[in-house]
């Protein structure tokens, strides 16, 4: 009777095809693969960022160079003590090394981008300002004037 040829007696629901499941999952996978970014350098200092409600986003992440300031992690405390230290790239440094660090960072950027270079100061909230003032003075001497105090937005 039926025009579409479906027999009235056959009421079995067809099984859902799971063939496209892997495609969906792969799509998700690619999304996360593209958006993920691996941590480039190991953190050797403990940094708990201070809170600031007015903090704004860093615009050009590729033009940022990072200066970490904080107390060394437990495994390095025996060697470097518990006083706040500066970490550049992967090793403990002093303020005198900032000049070379900034020069190297500048060198790795294209000519046009150098003026937009931002130095991000990632300092622990318990650090005293003395060390940060030293870093700032050194940055002024290297004329790396764009800086950013990294902070996190408080949870609302």
């Amino acid at each position: 009777m039926s025009k579409f040829g479906g027999s009235r007696n056959n009421k079995e629901v067809p099984g859902i095809s799971s063939g496209s499941l892997s495609d969906i999952v792969f799509m998700l996978l690619f999304f996360f693969m593209v958006t993920t970014q691996m941590r480039e350098s190991e953190n050797k200092v403990v940094v708990k960022l201070p809170e600031a409600s007015q903090s704004v986003k860093l615009e050009r992440k590729d033009l940022a160079s990072y200066i970490n300031i904080g107390t060394p992690t437990r495994q390095y405390q025996g060697q470097y003590g518990t006083d706040a230290r500066i970490q550049l790239n992967d090793s403990f440094k002093t303020t005198d090394d900032i000049r070379d660090f900034i020069a190297a960072e500048r060198e790795s950027m294209s000519e046009g981008d150098r003026q937009f270079m931002t130095t991000v100061i990632r300092a622990d909230e318990d650090v005293r300002m003395g060390i940060i003032t030293d870093v700032k003075q050194e940055l002024r001497r290297c004329s790396a004037l764009r800086i950013m105090y990294q902070a996190r937005k408080p949870a609302e």
């Binding site: 799971s18 063939g19 499941l21 892997s22 999952v25 792969f26 998700l28 996978l29 996360f32 693969m33 958006t35 993920t36 970014q37 691996m38 941590r39 201070p50 809170e51 600031a52 409600s53 007015q54 903090s55 704004v56 986003k57 860093l58 992440k61 940022a64 931002t118 991000v120 300092a123 622990d124 909230e125 318990d126 650090v127 005293r128 300002m129 003395g130 940060i132 003032t133 700032k136 003075q137 940055l139 002024r140 001497r141 004329s143 004037l145 764009r146 800086i147 950013m148 105090y149 990294q150 902070a151 996190r152 937005k153």
Partner: protein, 193 residues
């Protein structure tokens, strides 16, 4: 001879493999959007240059000091960090043209007309012993004061908050209410007792 049929590869496990990889990337991913407070440091003064007397009129400057015990001094009186924002707002807007608060000079702003731009400068001084936490909190309050003033300006002129203005309008607002924060040369405050 019977025709040999190649058996189909069972593809149901690809989803599992993909899930495993997905879980790995989900775990390691950091949707890192870095936020912070942007500042422009003043250039280092040329040592050969004679130190010019950069005299800013006393009424145009507010000195915000943070000492080693994290106490904040705005102008000449101690103040709580929570109250600093209102103090800075009063200082910069000077609604009643108080002669002890900063002067305003009519400035031509392209695309807007003349506006009485406040000449106020916030000078921030800190001690070597000040904690970074307090320093950022003070910086944050100052930025908050300026952001609120900009929002008020945007609301009264364009009827929209600052972040929803077009880029040109934002530039006008920035010129009308500039962010003048001077991070002074480091001074050893602790030596002066």
């Amino acid at each position: 001879m019977a025709k040999k049929k190649t058996p189909a590869i069972n593809s149901s496990s690809t989803a599992d493999i993909a899930f495993l990889l997905l879980c790995y990337f989900l775990m390691t991913t950091t949707m890192g959007s870095q936020t912070g407070l942007s500042r422009l440091l003043p250039p280092m003064p040329d040592p050969n240059q004679k130190i010019e007397n950069q005299q800013v009129n006393q009424r145009n400057i507010i000195l915000v000091r943070v000492n080693a015990a994290n106490n904040v001094l705005a102008g000449s009186e101690p103040i709580a960090v929570a109250q600093l924002k209102d103090k800075i707002k009063d200082f910069l807007s000077n609604p009643y043209d108080d002669p002890s608060l900063p002067a305003k000079t009519p400035t031509e702003i392209e695309g807007y007309g003349t506006y009485n731009v406040s000449q106020g400068v916030i000078s921030l001084q800190n001690d070597r012993g000040t904690s970074y936490y307090q320093y950022i909190a003070v910086q944050n309050e100052i930025v908050k004061a300026i952001d609120e003033l900009r929002d008020e300006f945007a609301m009264s002129n364009y009827g929209r908050p600052y972040i929803r203005l077009t880029e040109d309008q934002q530039d006008i607002v920035k010129k009308a209410i500039p962010q003048r924060i001077s991070e002074a040369e480091p001074k050893d405050v602790s030596q002066r007792r």
